[in-house]
């Protein structure tokens, strides 16, 4: 398909690149402990970008038998209105690809019954009186092909599986929701499912007792899930796009130590077993890791081809595209690492990742409500707690409600009070819990 499309584009435009992707999903859903639905979804799409007269245009289609001529015509019409850009597509030589397994046979061949069995096991393990358990299992097989008129080609087949479980407990007017997930390219092992069950149970048990929230500027342990509000500003500010636009507070700060010197953050598309891993990006740029923050210093920003061209730098292989619209910058796997050589453990059993022993009064924040809805890139956040626990004299004393935490992500990460020993994947981010000091807690 890609060949035919690029062949058609050649001669009528200066240059072109394209992506074809076919996805097949199988999903089962348990609602309140009962298997309620099983579904499949099949989707294929083609995205074309052209440079015509130095201007860029895009077009996409989900038609089963795409009319390539019409697609090229639409992309050319788009380019007539487009901006001038000097885009250099990678050539065949540049697309020597690293080896990374993306396809796992066990995931691809798992039958509907296998998926149902796995979901049922989780439902059984998580059931308890007065709690409603919802579980979903989704398996995906995707074929991707990318190519350009400079001769670069790439294709790969990938698998992914997501198992999510949420437990809701309603007692009077108190609603408690605890959620966790397993996401991977390979099927979860029994141990992985056991970890998921224990993670939900630990957080549920500790939440049964409700205690008064503290208030003031206090130490807060952000769990890997709770960390989202702190990480999001960084993700936006480290994007080459916001740097180019002048809206990133980290622009012009490369090499400056702005964060705790024990903190390193990388974007790594070559992490084995992760669904976001792939040998090349959606613009034919070979995958490689990018050091975003290195020992507290601002490292490299991430770029796609166009943003890199405008910023007069190189793509970091972070081009992502859908069927419609043009390629944009996307992270792959983001990993938080300790730069002082201390291994981040993966003991997910204890709430707080071993960071609470020395805390006299504070919080563990596992979920915040409304993350991403404020003025994110400024670093300022302010959110009611979704799931949080009070720490008193080194121990978790219960769940707090009706409290809000606020702070500035860039300021809080200047000094990290401690790295937890509970490093884990959550979606495409790996991090341990972090202890951050002086977080504002307001209560009613």
């Amino acid at each position: 398909m890609i060949e035919r499309l690029l062949e058609r584009a050649r001669g009528t435009v200066d240059n072109a690149d394209a992506l074809w992707r076919r996805q097949e999903q199988t999903a089962v859903g348990f609602e309140s402990g009962r298997l309620k639905a099983a579904g499949i979804s099949e989707e294929a799409g083609l995205n074309l970008r052209v440079l015509a007269g130095g201007r860029m245009g895009v077009a996409g289609t989900t038609a089963a038998a795409p009319d390539v001529e019409a697609l090229v015509a639409r992309a050319r019409a788009s380019a007539e209105l487009g901006e001038l850009v000097e885009l250099a597509f990678p050539d065949a030589a540049a697309s020597k690809l690293p080896s990374i397994p993306t396809f796992f046979d066990r995931t691809a061949t798992a039958s509907l019954d296998d998926l149902i069995r796995m979901g049922r096991l989780l439902v059984e393990r998580l059931s308890r009186p007065d709690c409603q358990v919802n579980v979903s299992v989704e398996r995906e097989i995707a074929d991707t092909a990318v190519g350009n008129t400079a001769g670069a080609r790439g294709e790969y087949r990938a698998t992914g599986i997501a198992v999510t479980a949420d437990v809701t407990r309603i007692a009077g007017d108190d609603v408690l929701m605890v959620y966790d997930q397993y996401v991977g390219a390979d099927m979860p092992s029994d141990a992985d499912l056991e970890t998921l069950v224990r993670s939900v149970e630990t957080r549920l048990t500790a939440a049964l007792r409700i205690v008064t929230p503290p208030d003031g500027a206090l130490p807060v342990v952000f769990t890997p899930a709770g960390l989202a509000a702190v990480v999001l500003p960084l993700e936006q500010a480290l994007s080459g796009k916001t740097v180019l636009q002048g809206s990133s507070p980290l622009a012009g700060k490369v090499g400056e130590t702005l964060f705790d010197e024990r903190l390193s953050i990388i974007d790594d598309p070559l992490t084995p077993g992760r669904p976001a891993s792939r040998p090349l990006d959606d613009e034919c740029v070979a995958s490689r890791a990018t050091a975003l923050v290195e020992r507290g210093k601002v490292g490299r920003f991430v770029y796609d081809l166009e943003t890199a061209a405008r910023a007069k730098t190189q793509s970091t292989g972070n081009g992502r595209r859908g069927v419609f619209g043009k390629p944009h910058i996307g992270y792959t796997n983001i990993l938080f690492r300790r730069a002082d050589g201390v291994h981040v453990g993966t003991q997910t059993d204890a709430l707080g990742g071993g960071l609470i022993a020395d805390i006299d009064d504070g919080l563990i924040v596992d979920d915040l409500i409304g993350v991403g809805q404020g003025n994110v890139i400024s670093g300022a956040f302010s959110h009611p707690v979704g799931l949080a626990y009070r720490i008193q004299r080194g121990e978790v004393t219960g769940r707090v409600k009706d409290a809000a935490v606020a702070g500035n992500a860039y300021d809080l990460l200047k000094r990290i009070g401690g790295f937890g020993t509970d490093g884990r994947w959550l979606g495409s981010r790996f991090s341990p819990s972090l202890l951050l000091e002086g977080v504002s807690i307001a209560r009613r």
Partner: protein, 459 residues
């Protein structure tokens, strides 16, 4: 197309079968700063089949290749049979509907050249950029679509709907050294080209606000009397209460059902809330939902008492209530689930205005505009675009980072004053639930006063 779908439904051996096919024509233009990002026309199409066999669960298939329709009906049937249920799924009775429902296109966007759309957005984008050189970045986008939806089910319903939509939105980023603030304007309508003209003043206002906020202090955290403007009051009722009134939250959950018992008092007698999918010309408006049920105005809270909830046919059957036309899917890629349409707080007494709400507040917050909101059922968050302190009954200084932390039961019950100045707020974006985002919805409200609400921030 209807005949083709009817034939495929007839082939199905299942007790219940429905097919939805969509073809969406859309165009989009986007600017980032002074630079055009994209100007493009797209065509998206695909189908959705949902099947229910006796004693079994739902079998679902979605696909982009319509040639495979008969095969997909068969596969959905097999999937349904793989889901064995002790307690069968029932669907509430619904009279079969046959109609062609073509909404007013108000200037068919398909007939307007892409270059004209670029010109319009350029003008809105420049309106923001020209406000001040402190406006360092903008994001402006125009998107329109005309969606054709065919729906046929095995009970005799056969519908064709033509649904237009147009959204223009802009974010202005103000920056001075390390301070970064934003202003957001968004207009979303179930209409066409004629309805999105002449909004330059609105875009100027939000860019000016981004600049003004650079000098504004952060609001101090704590509990305050709060007045919500119309826009934020709409987001509030959507997040705080609307999601809990969606019956899929309660229908399988006895404890939740008890919590949401009809007849329970949720607020003071001033509070009236509803959801109206049949309101004229709004973004959440549809003649029929995605199960073929006609939409309607559903009362949810009347004089402070819970009186209704939003249903699909499945949730209505389970609770012994009537379907309300709230089963919606964002596209053929998804099954219909219970969603809001146009949700509103009804106006208070005519003639009651903002001044009547603010007069006796000594220290409080006037929270305006909405960056967004999210609910975890009992607790919710909503983020104002900006706010003002209220001092001695008057609007005082501008403040930023105003985020309200709410508890459903406490907050609704503390609404003590509602103005008569009702407006619908037709924004772009939309609502997200169960992986389906953005669903076009509208919210409507007058100014609303909450006796006491928690605002996050430095303490």
């Amino acid at each position: 197309m209807k005949d083709r779908l009817a034939a495929a439904v007839k082939q199905s051996r299942a007790g219940y079968t429905e097919i939805r096919v969509e073809r969406t024509w859309s165009s989009a233009v986007a600017f980032r700063g002074r630079r055009l990002e994209t100007a493009t026309v797209s065509e998206d199409q695909g189908g959705f089949v949902r099947v229910l066999n006796q004693g079994c669960g739902w079998g679902i298939a979605s696909f982009t290749s319509l040639d495979e329709l008969p095969e997909m009906v068969a596969r959905a049937g097999e999937l349904s049979r793989a889901v064995r249920l002790d307690e069968p799924i029932r669907l509430a009775e619904a009279a079969p509907q046959t109609a062609d429902a073509v909404l007013d296109l108000d200037g068919d966007v398909r007939g307007v050249p892409l270059s004209e759309k670029k010109k319009l957005l350029d003008s809105y984008n420049n309106a923001m950029l020209d406000v001040s050189n402190l406006v360092v970045d903008t994001q402006a986008s125009y998107r329109d679509e005309v969606s054709e939806v065919w729906y046929v089910n095995s009970e005799g319903t056969s519908l064709y709907q033509l649904r237009p939509e147009v959204v223009v939105s802009g974010t202005a980023i103000g920056r001075r050294n390390g301070s970064i603030e934003k202003g957001l304007e968004s207009i979303g309508l179930r209409k066409g080209w004629n309805s999105v003209q002449g909004f330059e003043p609105q875009f100027r206002v939000v860019a000016q606000r981004a600049v003004d906020l650079l000098d504004a202090p952060r609001v101090r955290g704590g509990a305050y009397p709060v007045i919500l403007d119309n826009e934020l009051a709409g987001v509030f009722i959507h997040e705080a209460f609307g999601h809990l009134s969606e019956a899929d939250f309660v229908y399988e959950n006895p404890q939740a059902r008890e919590m949401m018992t009809l007849g329970r008092r949720f607020g003071k007698p001033v509070l009236n809330v509803g959801d109206n999918g049949a309101a004229q010309g709004l973004r959440g408006t549809l003649p029929y939902d995605d199960e073929g049920t006609p939409t309607q105005d559903t009362a949810l809270i009347r004089e402070g008492i819970l009186v209704g909830r939003l249903h699909s046919r499945e949730t209505a059957a389970k609770l012994g209530e009537r379907p309300t036309g709230n089963a919606r899917a964002i596209s053929f890629r998804h099954p219909p689930i219970v969603r809001m349409t146009n949700t509103y707080i009804a106006p208070g007494k005519a003639g009651v205005g903002f001044q009547d709400l603010i007069r006796d507040i000594k220290l409080g917050v006037y929270a305006c505009g909405a960056f967004g909101g999210q609910t975890m059922l009992e607790n919710f968050s909503f983020t104002a675009g900006w706010g003002y302190m209220i001092r001695d009954g008057k609007v005082a200084e501008l403040v930023k980072d105003v985020v309200l932390a709410g508890n459903l039961f406490q907050t609704l019950d503390r609404i003590d004053h509602i103005a008569g100045d009702f407006t619908w707020n037709q924004m772009g974006g939309g609502c997200g639930k169960g992986g389906q985002f953005p669903l076009p919805v509208t919210e409507g409200a007058p100014h609303v006063r909450i006796e006491e609400a928690l605002i996050g921030g430095d303490v």
